[in-house]
Each structure stands twice: as C-alpha cells, then as structure tokens.
C-alpha cells in the first residue's frame, strides 16, 4: 500500500490517523468460526443485541438490527442474549 492511499498522513514525520473510527473498515471476518443469522419474523425489536454487541457490528435501524459481517468477530453474545431466538448461529463454511 502506498502512503497516499492510507487514511493518515505524517506531521513532521510523526504519523497521525486523520479519520476517527477508520477501524470500522478493518475486516475481522476471519476471526469467526460461527456467524449470527437474523430472523425478522421472530424479532420483538427489544434492542438487546444492539446494546450488547461489543464490536458495534449491529446497527440499529427502523427495521431492526442490521449485522455488519466485516466487524463481527463471532462472539455469539447477540445469539445467547436474544430473548426470542431471532438471532441464531450458523457455521462459517471455510
């Protein structure tokens, strides 16, 4: 990767990160052995999964939770804590 492609630039030789929260683009999907799967029909919009996702991999929208599989590390807290089994788990294929 060339310097101009990076989201930071040096100030007097000291590199700084210019974009707060740029880690959101880092792909952590290879950490997962299992992935969460959302079933809208069973969801009561209680927000528990959104509250507890430690990696902010669940966004809250008017339609309910939306999982971001780039950030999700597969901890399964959302699956374990969902009171209605609207979140279930599935094995990663590779």
């Amino acid at each position: 990767m060339r310097e101009e492609e990076l989201s930071y630039k040096g100030i007097h030789g000291i590199p700084v990160i210019l974009e707060p929260g740029n880690a959101a683009r880092v792909d952590r999907s290879s950490w997962r052995l299992v992935r969460p799967v959302y079933n809208k029909d069973k969801c009561t919009m209680c927000k528990i999964c959104y509250t507890y996702c430690p990696d902010s991999a669940i966004a809250w929208t008017k339609e309910g939770p939306v999982i971001n599989l780039t950030s999700c590390k597969g901890c399964m807290i959302c699956v374990e804590e969902c009171p209605t089994n609207a979140m279930t788990q599935e094995k990663e294929s590779s």
């Binding site: 740029n22 901890c75 399964m76």
Partner: protein
C-alpha cells in the same frame, strides 16, 4: 440528560466502532462503547496501559473521541492536568474520563488516583476490573478474587487454591475520599449508564467500577459474557451499590443470593478449586453481603 428508564432508551449512536484487535466478546470494550453513549463526543479518555490500549492500533482507530495513551502509574493525575488545561482555556463542557484496568487502579496507579480523588478534581474515573493484569498474560492483582487461577498464582498440587489473597475492598477505600463511588455490571446496562450520567453531572470526582468480564483471562466461551456478568451480581460476587458522601445504597437487592458455585462453574479460572476453597469464597461473599445490608441507607465509611 434525563435518567435512562430501559434498554430502548439507550442512545442510538456509537463512538467506538468495530475492527479493533481486542478479543471477541471483550467485556471492557463493551463497557467503553456503552459509557460513550452517555458521555457523548465531547469527551477525553485517559487510558492507562492495559488491554484497552490495543483499541487504537496504528494506522487504525475505533475511537471517535479524544484518547490519551498514558503510563500505568498516573492516569488520574493526567486527567486532573487535562481538566486544569481545559479550565485555563475556559472550556467547561468536556468530560474528562479515565478508563483504567484494575492493575492500574488497585496497584500501580493507586497513589495518583487517591491524590486526584481527595482533591475532588472534576474527573470521572472508570475502572474496568477484569481481576488481573490482562494485557501481560493474566497475572494476579490485588483485585483478583480468592481462589482464582492466574499466571502468578497457578493452581497446582502444592497450591490447590490459586490466589490465596483476599482482594482489596476498593469501593470502601474510595468511599473514605468522600467522592461518589459505584459498582456496575454489563448485565445491568441501564443502571451502569445512569451511574455514568450521575458522575457526568457532578462538579467533582467520581469513581465507577465496572466488572470487566473477560472471556480470555477467565477462560470461558465469550458468548457467556453477559450471563456471567449477571450471575456475578446474583451470587453476590459483584453486588451493585453506591457510596455517596460516605452513605451506602444497595442498587439491586435480593432476598436470597444464588450459590457462588453457579458462577464459578462456568469459568476455567476456578476449575478444580477444591470444596474448602469454594466454602471459603462463599463465606467471604456472605460476610460482604451481610455488611452491605447492615449499612444500606446508612453512613458506611
């Protein structure tokens, strides 16, 4: 900000993104994510060296607020300095927050914490207590519970108990500084965030200690992070209470505690703790719980 009534009221923005290199299901990072929902963007975090120091790892950061990497010894006094600097600039609407581990808080940075608290500096000090020096491989701190297996107190034939020291009563210690003190748990996020909110609105020092449920160090499947956080409260291993101007208030009262064994069995760090160790741990819990109930709504320290 008005007190939060239920989970649905918790603000819908995140100032800590994903993509960082902390472990999957990390309790302390979940705690920071939640706290920032109440603290908001006008916040400076002072972090003592520890697991959370891995959050911003060049060239990436999950943070959308200011962050100072600090030595382990003096995060509290750095925070006091930041507050004085803001005051000199006439900036009043910034939160100055320490996010420090138990090793930094109970042991290595205790002198600086005590000095900052007794001067009642306008700082919110949050200790995420994962009950060991997590970042360096889980060595014993003075926050480590009796009976826990750690790198420096390994369970074995010669020492079946693991850690034989009884942890410091940190809330009592901070209580004598006459500041606002509270314990918190990830399983009770509304209670936790209302405590942060209370601290934010104070014109002085606050000390909040969050049980930093840690799948890696405590050796359990990360899916149980909340389940274990909840059991810690239900078993009396982590009671939720506040000390304000030396008066105690229990925030979650139970007629009967669950046996500590239910909590211990889910974690590898207590695996093979012999029955006399479990009995001793249960008696320590019972003693603390009785003390808290005796002094509830009374002067405590």
């Amino acid at each position: 900000m008005q007190p939060i009534k239920n989970i649905k009221d918790i603000p819908e923005f995140d100032l800590l993104t994903g993509g960082s290199s902390v472990c999957a299901g990390c309790g302390p990072s979940m705690g920071l994510k939640l706290a920032l929902k109440v603290l908001g963007p006008k916040t400076i975090i002072i972090n003592s060296a520890g697991c959370m120091t891995l959050l911003p790892l060049f060239p990436n950061t999950p943070l959308k607020v200011s962050w100072i990497h600090n030595a382990i010894e003096n995060a509290a006094t750095t925070a006091a300095g930041a507050r004085h600097g803001l005051d000199a600039l006439g900036i009043k609407d910034m939160n100055v927050v320490v996010y420090a581990g138990d090793g930094a808080t109970y042991d290595i940075g205790f002198a600086s914490l005590s000095a900052t608290a007794i001067k009642n500096e306008r700082v919110i000090y949050i200790c995420y207590n994962n009950q060991a020096y997590g970042n360096t491989g889980f060595q014993c701190t003075t926050a480590t519970p009796y009976g826990s297996d750690t790198k420096t107190t390994p369970r074995g034939k010669e020492n079946p108990i693991g850690n034989t020291t009884i942890h410091k009563d940190m809330l009592k210690l901070m209580g004598v500084h006459r500041v606002y003190c509270a314990t918190a748990s990830l399983a009770y996020p509304v209670d936790f965030l209302n405590k942060i909110n209370k601290a934010k609105e104070r014109d002085g020092f606050s000390y909040i200690e969050l049980l930093g449920t840690c799948a890696t160090g405590w050796n359990f499947d990360p899916r149980y992070t909340i389940k274990i956080s909840r059991l810690a409260v239900r078993c009396g291993m982590w009671p939720l209470y506040e000390i304000d101007d030396r008066k105690l208030s229990l925030n979650k009262e139970f007629k009967e505690l669950k046996p500590v064994d239910e909590y211990l069995q889910l974690q590898g760090r207590y695996k093979q703790l012999p029955p006399d160790g479990v009995i001793k741990l249960q008696s320590l819990v019972n003693e603390h719980w009785a003390e808290l109930n005796e002094f509830n709504e009374k002067r405590y320290v």
